[in-house]
């Protein structure tokens, strides 16, 4: 598979402040790439530079095989962007916003109406076509922006916190069709989010902190590497369980007669238990989540 985005030694400074510090990564064509990190990590700065809105300080950034500095017009025509902040034309109607976008991206006039109906249907806003953007709720505005970013059928879609402020229904819906877009149209999706569960669907996750990428892999691999599964077991024969665990070098903590065991691989534990037919009265298992990964590598301090 080829890479649609290549970033090498990218640095961006604001004055003397290094917002992004010598970052390199690649995004495979047609994949979903999630960019995670605490507030101020440099995610939006990276996205805005890739979108040609900001100029890099140094490094090489390429989209679709072209260096972005020299090919701004080309890059702009093949990407779709939903910025972190609202960028709708609030004094116009939904339809006027979408039409304007089509003109800017030179979408063939004959397909404009059909495209608009298609994207509005996608975000379930067909009824609101003639409504003023001002009269929409925050979540509806966000959906209009997502619809708008798809009008010109971009190759790469940048979504900077697309679901912030949306209700669970809308979030679920939006992810449904983001995945659908990726599967059916082969669009590469580059997203940032603070909802870790949303990043689970991605093919690669990059965690950024203080302008540096500190982890980069498939979510499952990261979970494996940074988290341990937790099992909480109650037994009617605690002594027996105690012996068995020690025998297998498994340390545990005990809390109200419950054994709390942290393991790298749960299957090992279940194998031991089933083999010895211990009388288990209750067993609760907690798998490591991406949220645990995130807290593990970025720490728990709130960023200023």
């Amino acid at each position: 598979m080829n890479n649609i985005i290549t970033v090498k030694n990218f640095t961006k400074t604001y004055g003397t402040f290094k917002a992004v510090d010598n970052v390199s990564f690649e995004v495979e064509s047609g994949s979903i790439f999630a960019f995670l990190g605490p507030n101020g990590a440099g995610k939006s700065t990276t996205i805005n530079t890739l979108c040609t809105i900001l100029d890099k300080t140094s490094g090489t950034l390429m989209i679709d095989g072209k260096e972005i500095g020299q090919n701004k017009d080309y890059i702009r025509s093949v990407i779709g962007v939903v910025f972190q902040e609202q960028t709708l034309d609030v004094k116009m109607t939904v339809e006027e916003n979408l039409k304007m976008h089509c003109h800017f991206y030179r979408v063939a006039k004959s397909v404009i109406n059909e495209r608009i109906d298609f994207v509005l249907h996608l975000v379930d806003l067909t009824k609101w076509k003639k409504a003023m953007v001002n009269s929409l709720s925050g979540g509806m505005k966000r959906r209009v922006e997502i619809a708008r970013s798809l009008l010109h059928l971009p190759k790469v879609l940048f979504l900077d916190e697309p679901t912030t402020g949306l209700d669970p229904q809308t979030r679920a819906n939006i992810w449904d069709y983001i995945v659908k877009l990726q599967k059916e149209k082969g669009i590469t999706i580059f997203l940032t989010t603070h909802y870790m569960d949303e990043a689970e669907i991605s093919d690669k996750v990059a965690v950024m902190d203080y302008g540096k990428i500190i982890a980069f892999d498939h979510p499952a691999v990261l979970k494996k590497q940074y988290t341990r599964d937790k099992a909480m077991i109650s037994s009617i024969v605690p002594e027996q369980l105690n012996d068995l665990l020690l025998q297998h070098d498994l340390t545990y903590a005990k809390e109200n007669n419950r054994f709390i065991i942290e393991v790298n691989d749960l299957s090992k534990l279940t194998a031991i238990i089933s083999e010895h037919q211990l009388s288990i009265t209750d067993m609760e298992v907690r798998k490591g989540t991406l949220n645990d990964v995130f807290l593990e590598i970025t720490g728990k301090n709130i960023r200023e």
Binding site: T52, L54, E85, K91, Y105, R106
Partner: protein
């Protein structure tokens, strides 16, 4: 072309939707006309009503074209400009679209007042005069739209802009010989008036609409169509070139600043910017 016309349509639509503004811009000039005609009767100008009315028309063109600054700032603050700038539209197309739409709106306003003016005594001797008047409204509109866009891109911040806008438009409006005759201004203010581009725009426009471009010099002066800046007598023709130069200058300036400006900062307030810079 498509981008430019789409931008024009959008801005014009935005303008037409603002009914209150539309009515106000139409009523205010006649209020001023009523007020000013009395003042100007105390000078030796031969036809004060027409003299004042032609000045007011050009002031309205000026004020309306400067609105582009406010609406561009609005687009930056609301974030919409980011959507425009991330699109494949060329910056120069955006500049042209903004300036053209503003010129169209300003000329439209000017024509409206001209039409109403005809009912209250505005007369043209030749049918070519109104055409020439419209052409020069377009010209003045272009000049001050470019100026307005330059202001907007240099300020980029709505609070600063409000102050700047008052600081810039008030002297331009009141020290150009339209509301107060230049000859009645105190000496110091007269010098400021000579630096004011609107003085030249008004002077040329007035001579043109009063059909007195070819009057001999002493009559131009007595009718306050030409004026003395120090030892130099500024005829309407000289005024035309002054305003032309001013227009070209700001057309270039606004294009350059608009293409170069770092729009990434425009959403951030002044205060948070300071925090980041610490």
């Amino acid at each position: 072309m498509r981008i430019i016309s789409a931008l024009c349509m959008r801005n014009i639509r935005l303008f037409l939707r603002n009914r209150v503004q539309l009515v106000l811009i139409l009523i205010m000039p006649f209020f001023y006309l009523y007020l000013l005609s009395t003042i100007f009767k105390s000078t030796d100008i031969s036809d004060p009503t027409n003299y004042v009315l032609s000045g007011i028309i050009i002031i309205v063109v000026f004020q309306t074209s400067l609105n582009i600054a406010a609406s561009t700032i609005d687009d930056m603050v609301s974030g919409y400009m980011k959507e425009v700038l991330v699109s494949p539209a060329k910056r120069i197309q955006i500049v042209i679209g903004q300036i053209l739409s503003s010129t169209i709106i300003a000329t439209f306003q000017g024509i409206l007042i001209m039409i109403v003016g005809c009912f209250i005594g505005l007369r043209y001797g030749s049918i070519f005069t109104p055409l020439a008047v419209i052409v020069s409204m377009i010209f003045v509109g272009l000049v001050f739209s470019a100026f307005g866009l330059f202001l907007a891109t240099s300020v980029k911040n709505s609070q600063t802009f409000q102050i700047t806008s008052v600081a810039v438009t008030t002297p331009i409006t009141f020290l150009c010989g339209v509301y107060v005759p230049l000859s009645l201004l105190p000496n110091g203010l007269q010098y400021i008036a000579f630096l004011n581009p609107m003085t030249y725009a008004a002077s040329f426009f007035r001579a043109l609409s009063l059909e007195k471009l070819s009057l001999p010099l002493n009559e131009l002066i007595s009718d306050q169509l030409a004026f003395k800046a120090g030892n130099l007598i500024i005829t309407p023709q000289i005024s035309f070139f002054v305003i032309l130069l001013f227009g070209i200058l700001f057309l270039i300036l606004s294009t350059v600043t608009f293409t170069r400006v770092d729009f990434s900062k425009m959403n951030r307030t002044q205060m948070s910017k300071d925090i980041y810079n610490q």
